[in-house]
Subunit: 109 residues, 2 copies
DNA sequence: TTATTATATTGCAATATTACGATAAATATT
DNA sequence: AATATTTATCGTAATATTGCAATATAATAA
């Protein structure tokens, strides 16, 4: 035991969960917010902004990238990371549908 | 090490992260979807619907409750669990703002 | 070529999560 | 009271995550 029983849930449920899980860490939220704040997205200075060591930041970036939340491309000696709008849209819409469904339901609590 | 450095991030960043983290598991997504689907929210049958043992489901419910995503109240022998609209609103709005901010930015990738 | 700079990877220790059997607690039913 | 039903908790094993020092890799600059 200890491993999530991924195969017992729908592909959609797993997709939603993995996106939200990737965002479920304050460092990764901070990274996303920083990517938003910076005008151009050559983001070699994320390490200087966060209270974490370079390998740790690199690992968080990798996780965000694996989840599909950010895109990265080599830009000379630096890496250009920026937010992938599509994945953000997807979870925003997912939660929006949830909210809307909730509004049409009687609530006992 | 191994523990998240919560105190190095803002309260807001931690709040967002903890809500999204709580949703970042397919079982908990499935629970939320089930709570939405069922008309009234006397939900003693979640265990029968999910491919997980009763203690596991109970633990997931506890996590959703701790995060503030669901509310639970004793209803005789059963427990009435249902979604807390406020927390759902919060993360939906958070992601919405992120999306909106992104739209006004030049995107290099 | 030899630094220099920037990012990634490896290896590892500390901690957290996931899952479940066994058991407890609380209430309802007989 | 005794039994059944429902949910929670405890204990524990397996696995995952977090964080960083050390090191590797890759591109640029001197």
């Amino acid at each position: 035991m200890g491993a999530t029983k991924t195969d017992h849930f729908s592909q959609r449920q797993n997709k939603v969960a993995s996106l939200l899980k990737a965002l479920g860490h304050p460092a990764r939220i901070a990274i996303m917010e920083y990517l938003l704040k910076v005008n151009d997205c050559i983001c070699g200075d994320i390490v200087n902004v966060l209270p974490l060591a370079q390998p740790t930041v690199s690992q968080h970036l990798k996780e965000l990238k694996n989840a599909g939340l950010i895109k990265g491309s080599i830009e000379g000696t630096a890496i250009c990371y920026c937010i992938d709008e599509k994945s953000l849209d997807f979870i925003h819409q997912y939660l929006g549908t949830m909210k809307q469904t909730l509004e049409n339901k009687p609530n006992c609590c």
